[in-house]
Symmetry: C2
Subunit: 379 residues, 2 copies
């Protein structure tokens, strides 16, 4: 049944699961590939994603709302049809971009007033607006509209912010329920994930986790992490908070992270991930291999006719050499960036497949230890 | 036998032929796709070229000499291996770039002294250097090192320049013969095409054509056209000069042109073409269709879910809509440019296939008339 989560195997808190959606099953743990404006940066199309093991494409609600506009996308049949991708799409709420990209914002009980980063025009976004936009896009999974408080914010501020986020979540659930019942809604099975906040205050996180669990949503995310706190603080939050989220629902750690972060988070019960690292690193010639990250601009690769990684099954490594890709990057040819993004996304997607196999085989602890150890090398 | 040209069918001066090379047969008339630094601009890889009917890839000797260096490419096994393309590659001589990109150049009998456009360092290039570089790259067809005089240059200047170009051609032939006999040469079957010059002075062109024909090279090009003169002047040169080139050798019109230019030039006996128009136009959202060029940035395409051209078999049109590609271009996503370049190159390659079929069927005149007429529409 869509929106349900089957846990196939467990090892400690690490889970091997399947999340059922109207756009197909998601095998977890999963890494979602970020296509901000409805396309992966680096000239990567959905036909490429099909070749590199992408299960879920993540798009940014705020960006698509500003351009080309969610109403246009709705009129054209929704985001799946627009970008030609029939597998699951997760849309964020727009909240994070409102808080990070816009200027002159004002947070009120009803929502947030802010100025567009494109043309400066005034925009209001609250829980209902975010749900409406995501419904217009017709994504598989919509994220709740929340405030992501600064990781250094004081206790009182975070407490009040989280209380408001809880009230906003109730409004999100009411709104999506109404939208899903409408005749002209593109995806009447759109799923809502709630978001746990609380910076690094475990008591706020736990209390919030308990309250939002009562809403019985199909999935829950942890937000406001990997935004300035240490890795240890993040792992501590995961260890303490996840036990208070429903055991039969997937857990999504937003915006995380390095391969090591993902390996550690899976061990603490996380099922969904997304991060711009693989594509952003690729655009700076930093490429992942099982022996650590390499910088392809280093002179050592100039005459190296081997692939980025021997044995890698990605379309880039199946065809091109380090020497050629390095030349393209030096000459600022777009093809170089495309080939690097394809490799790095494949590396992440493939690591998730390895993680799933390891949990199935009951040797995740060993896999994790080896992976972290071999990846700690680099050139 | 490699280097030979079989003419399968003629209609007036239009020829349907096959040019045999060590890297495979080239069906003519052919449009060569320009990959300046060993890659088509717009994040298009050789795996893409295989899908859009590309027969010959053209690379620029001057650019590759400056970066990454032809000696490096030779040490890695040559340009075919470097860019992973096993079909024919034609390299230009570097002469055109020397004359158009560099500053402070001095033309002497031995060759040209100029400053690199990348780092300003002094470079000398003459016939022997150009042949050496192209031999290092290991291209299928090497172009002779020539001077391309300004189309407005006076008669005396052009006459002297063409005389020197003839002397340079003899040196090119001697040098490539020597290089092809060397043990460590990558492509010992490298073919040399001579280049006819003479601006728009038909008598200089004709005299030059006669003299270079005596060298019995496997192919001949017309250079220095489409550089400022009118289309009529160019057609006039083609009509008057081509009859003085060997009838059993392919004729290559360098740097030309629009679809209409190509249709007219085929009618005057041209077999090979290359031009940056399709990729450059694509990068500016100008897309070719059989009903004329469209500008995809026009608002009319904002909600158009049809492909760039109905019925087009290119990978872009088989998957994506005008509305989506327009959105990508507006958002400056690289994927938009890639999809447009793929479409435009396919359009050109496909038009050449249509031209070949029309000549085979003996209805080229009719095909040309119809094509020019329908393409003269636009939005």
């Amino acid at each position: 049944m869509q929106g349900t989560f089957d846990i196939l195997k467990k090892e400690g808190r690490a889970k091997r699961g399947v999340f059922h959606t109207v756009h197909g099953d998601i095998e977890t743990p999963v890494f979602m590939n970020v296509g901000t404006v409805g396309a992966i940066k680096g000239a990567v199309g959905t036909e490429d994603l099909e070749k590199i093991g992408t299960q879920v494409q993540l798009s940014n609600t705020y960006h698509l709302h500003v351009r080309p506009g969610d109403e246009l996308i709705k009129s054209l049949g929704g985001l799946h049809k627009f970008m030609v991708w029939d597998k699951p799409i997760l849309t964020d709420s727009g909240g994070f971009q409102v808080f990070s990209l816009s200027s002159l914002r004002k947070i009120k009980e009803e929502g947030v007033y802010f100025n567009s980063h494109v043309d400066g025009r005034k925009i209001f976004m609250g829980p209902e607006e975010s749900m409406q936009i995501q419904s217009n896009l017709g994504s598989t999974i919509a994220m709740a509209f929340d405030e992501c408080p600064n990781s250094k914010a004081d206790y009182k501020y975070v407490k009040d912010s989280v209380d408001r986020t809880t009230r906003w979540l109730v409004r999100c659930k009411d709104k999506i329920t109404e939208l899903n019942s409408r005749e002209d809604t593109i995806n009447k099975n759109q799923l809502l994930f709630g978001i746990n906040q609380g910076a690094v205050y475990n008591d706020i996180r736990i209390e919030h986790a308990k309250r939002i669990s009562e809403l019985d949503l199909p999935g829950y995310a942890l937000g406001g992490l990997a935004v300035g706190e240490s890795h240890e603080e993040m792992y501590d939050v995961l260890e303490n908070t996840i036990p208070y989220l429903p055991a039969n629902k997937p857990v999504y750690l937003m915006g995380v992270g390095t391969p090591e972060n993902i390996l550690e988070a899976v061990d603490r019960g996380v099922d969904f991930f997304d991060c711009v690292y693989p594509s952003r690193n690729a655009r700076h010639a930093h490429l992942y291999t099982n022996k650590g990250k390499i910088n392809l601009l280093n002179a050592i690769h100039e005459n190296d006719m081997s692939p980025i990684e021997e044995g890698c099954k990605c379309p880039t490594c199946q065809r091109y050499s380090r020497a050629y890709i390095r030349h393209l990057l030096k000459a600022k040819e777009m093809l170089g960036m495309r080939l690097c993004v394809i490799h790095n996304l494949y590396f992440y997607n493939n690591m998730m497949a390895e993680i799933r196999t390891a949990i199935e085989n009951g040797n995740y602890a060993e896999y994790k230890r080896n992976k972290i150890q071999t990846m700690s090398q680099s050139d």
